[in-house]
Amino acid sequence: MSTPPPASSASVAPATPAPTPVRRVRRLEPAALAGVMTRDVVLFGRYWKATTFSSVVQPTIYLLAFAAGIGALVTKVGRFSYLDYVATGVVATAVLFSSAFPGMFNTFVRWRFQRTYDAMLAAPVDVEELVTAEILWIAMRAGVYGLAPILVGIVFGLNPTAGMLLVVPIGFLTGFGFAAFGVLLAAIAKTIDNFNYVTSAVLTPMFLVAGTFFPISSLPSGIRIVAKFNPLYHCVQLVRDASFGQLQLADLAHVGVLALFAVVMWRLAIWRLGKRLID
């Protein structure tokens, strides 16, 4: 049985209205972003083991399966050993899994089932800040989780290089775009089951046709052209060039594609979720 709340003025005194100075507000206030992300950090503290497990183990299994399985048949792909090729390629898969899925599922659950976003939007947070903070947090995690296949690869013989540290910012940039893509899908989906279509028809082909496990040059020309528009392909190229000290000016094009993808998805996610949250 619960106890009635105290009714004495002493206990309620804190609710006395405080004179509040007039604040000017601007777009994307750091305080609002930090507030939303605080919640994510607190939740992460509770679920980090499960989140990390799912984000790391799946790409690691791909890495082991392909490197050990196909690696027995294929020793080299171009200038790379197959282990080097797959270990760096699977980074994109790890980033994709740890950004698109949280973007889709977390957003949908928080918006539709938990109504968490309704609570936050009643506070001084707008949709742009809410979406941006959620995407930023997911992207940060994705950047870190992107390192997992590299670390596993090192255990299996991949030579560590300083350039591999660039996987984190590359994963962040890629993860930002795919997290926003996930949020956008969550704002479009009518039911959570709709994500099955996306996973099967969009995400799976995307990570297969990105130069992750085999070079896209081996694909038919039509698919090869399509693959060039796949952001994951650009992520993979950047990761390989960074990891093996082969970064050059041309890599700025990959950065540009990823940045463009991120910005377009970010704005679309804000627009679409805003339509659903504000009626």
């Binding site: 709340p5 609710a15 006395t16 209205p17 405080a18 507000v25 609570a119 506070a123 001084p124 009626d279």
Partner: protein
């Protein structure tokens, strides 16, 4: 005279062919508990959402704490707290974690956050449950936590959307005590409710909403006096007897309504000798509400 805490003029909100808010005019003076009373579907929750700019009016003007909405809604939200009708707490978080997150969202300065959380826990009588996850709290505790969350930044204005809906009587009393305490501290409150007793018990001013607009407004006593008179005669009897009384009332132009197993005739003090025998009681807000809207309410 100080500016109204809330001013709504001619607000309209349509959802397809449904007009949820239909030319609403409302002014809430500062420092009062203002009750928005109406049946389900009267437009109360839509009005509440318009005040946080989570619903945008199709027409009309809205200002909250002198900020114009929706352009300045964020500034307004910094100075007001919201207690929603539906529980939207993070069930995975503890009470303290939820309050800490919202202290940040409401821009409570870093050095004040710890104390703000402690105060909010105390207000809601949740200190012993500070480290309890929301999923392990009772319904009443969750409601109190929602109130605490809305008060974490010491708002000047609190919106309470059906604060006790679905709660059992004991928990409702607890919430009422809490709201009473806030009122005595001078916090402006706008409380939507469809419970007559709640409005009568807590609100300084009541606006009766029906079909998306305010149809009457005043103190509970004023509303009762104006729309139901001072006394009501309740006539009990067989269904045939009640039918006769209803017909008599209609014939004489008396305002009457079905009240449980009786027919209640309002403004009994103005009626002549013809009034049937029955139990006389003081008129109440429910009588006024039914007289105004023709609808029964809880």
């Amino acid at each position: 005279m100080s500016a109204p805490a809330i001013a709504i003029r001619g607000a309209i909100k349509r959802y397809g062919e449904i007009t949820a808010v239909n030319g609403l005019d409302l002014e809430v003076p500062p420092g009062v508990c203002f009750g928005l009373l109406g049946p389900n579907g009267a437009g109360k929750s839509t009005t509440m959402r318009m005040l946080t700019a989570q619903t945008l009016a199709d027409a009309g003007e809205i200002s909250v704490l002198s900020y114009r909405l929706p352009a300045e809604s964020k500034q307004a939200r910094m100075e007001m707290g919201v207690v929603p009708q539906l529980d939207n707490l993070d069930i995975e978080l503890t009470c303290r974690q939820i309050l800490s997150v919202f202290a940040r969202l409401y821009r409570v300065p870093r050095h004040e956050r710890h104390a703000a959380v402690a105060r909010a826990l105390e207000i809601a009588n949740l200190v012993p449950r500070a480290e309890t996850k929301v999923s392990d709290l009772s319904g009443g505790m969750r409601r109190r936590l929602l109130v605490a969350r809305g008060l974490i930044h010491r708002p000047r204005l609190v919106l309470l959307d059906e604060p006790t809906v679905g709660l059992d009587p004991q928990i409702r009393q607890e919430l009422w005590s809490l709201i009473d305490s806030l009122r005595s501290e001078g916090v402006t409150m706008l409380m939507s409710t469809h419970y007559i007793e709640e409005a009568e018990r807590l609100a300084d001013i009541v606006a009766v909403m029906s079909a998306g607009r305010v149809i009457a407004q005043g103190t509970p006593a004023e509303l009762v006096r104006e729309h139901a008179g001072e006394r009501v005669i309740e006539v009990y009897g067989t269904p045939e007897r009640l039918a006769q009384v209803a017909e008599l009332a209609a014939r004489n132009g008396w305002r009457s309504r079905r009240s449980g197993p009786a027919i209640a005739i309002m403004r009994a003090e103005e009626l002549g000798e013809e009034v049937p025998d029955g139990t006389s009681r003081p008129a109440n807000l429910e009588d006024a509400f039914v007289a105004l809207t023709g609808e029964e309410i809880e």
